[in-house]
Amino acid sequence: MNLFAVFLLAVLVASFWRAPEKAPELFAVLPARDGHVGAIVVRGPGSEKVINEAYASVSINGSTQTNGSLSQAQVREMFGSTIEALPGSPASFTLYFLEGKDELTPESRSELDNVFSELKRRPLPDIVVIGHTDTVGSLEFNDKLSLARAERMREMLISLGLPAERIQAAGRGKRELLIQTEENVSEPRNRRVEISVR
């Protein structure tokens, strides 16, 4: 029983240590900043491996694929300067519109100044304005209305002094409702633009 446990530990330790040291190619999943753990699929010579646990890895050496796991220290040692170079996570803001129009609600209009000063704080902003609608009207009508809302917001940001070439606008129509509703429901919280900055 004890011997078996020792053997198991030895096998585990061996698989942990060997993977990062010998392998010419290594793939690993890291937990995201919010703790979420995703998944990757590695299709290597002759086999396919899914990795979906934090710090789990696959290494490939010639035609051998080995499952393993990295310690946080190993990740820092191997990928420290790489991870440090990842750009900051994007921030986003939401402003609301009057029904059927590309005009902001009075509340959102007064909030625009705060959003603007947040956007201006970033040295090289990469701004995407995405317009949305509620479910009143056809898909086509709402695609156009959402784009008009986004374009209008883009113009406002430019007139406030943000560089035009740093702002893109797109419309999502009624494809991405904030509040799920039936068709043809007037819902103020769905009539919005999301301004995201990277």
């Binding site: 995201a32 300067s81 790489t82 440090e84 170079a85 090289l124 784009l147 893109q168 129509g173 995201s196």
Partner: protein, 147 residues
């Protein structure tokens, strides 16, 4: 109102060719970072645009961070060669395709909107494997000494 919408729609269609070429932006650039585009190498400081089919290269002291139009974040470490083989993203449907090759070096990435919409629309090739991305954060290393 209708007319304004039509004008906005036409303008946005006209704007696409000018924007289509840029698929990302260098947000972090440390040490020696270069982009190879159409056979020519140019320095890649913060603010440089990244296009589909660019190759990002770093020296022994280099690292770089790139934001892509679907909010994917990709960074490369020292002594790295990373080629963007294909990149396409539709900001309305979130459909897209992102294929990159890590020839050597180190890469870290956080997937963006296209992977959220369709898992494995982002793929990273290495000399002996293809990795499909189903979600968020991961790292890849290709050792240079590989024979």
């Amino acid at each position: 109102m209708r007319k304004a919408l039509l004008v906005a729609a036409v303008l946005s269609v006209m704007a696409i060719p000018a924007l289509a070429a840029d698929v990302g932006l260098i947000k972090v650039s440390k040490g020696n970072v270069q982009i190879e585009r159409n056979g020519a190498k140019v320095a890649a400081p913060v603010g440089a645009s990244v296009q589909a089919s660019d190759v990002i290269m770093t020296g022994a002291d280099g690292s770089a961070g790139i934001t892509f139009t679907d909010n994917s974040l990709v960074s490369v470490g020292p002594n790295t060669v990373f080629a963007i083989d294909k990149y396409r993203f539709d900001s309305t449907t979130h459909a897209g395709e992102f294929e990159g090759s890590l020839k050597k070096g180190r890469l870290a990435a956080i997937s963006g909107k296209m992977v959220k919409a369709s898992p494995e629309s982002m793929k990273i090739r290495t000399p002996s494997a293809i990795m499909g991305v189903r979600g968020t954060e991961f790292v890849v290393q290709v050792d240079e000494e590989k024979k």
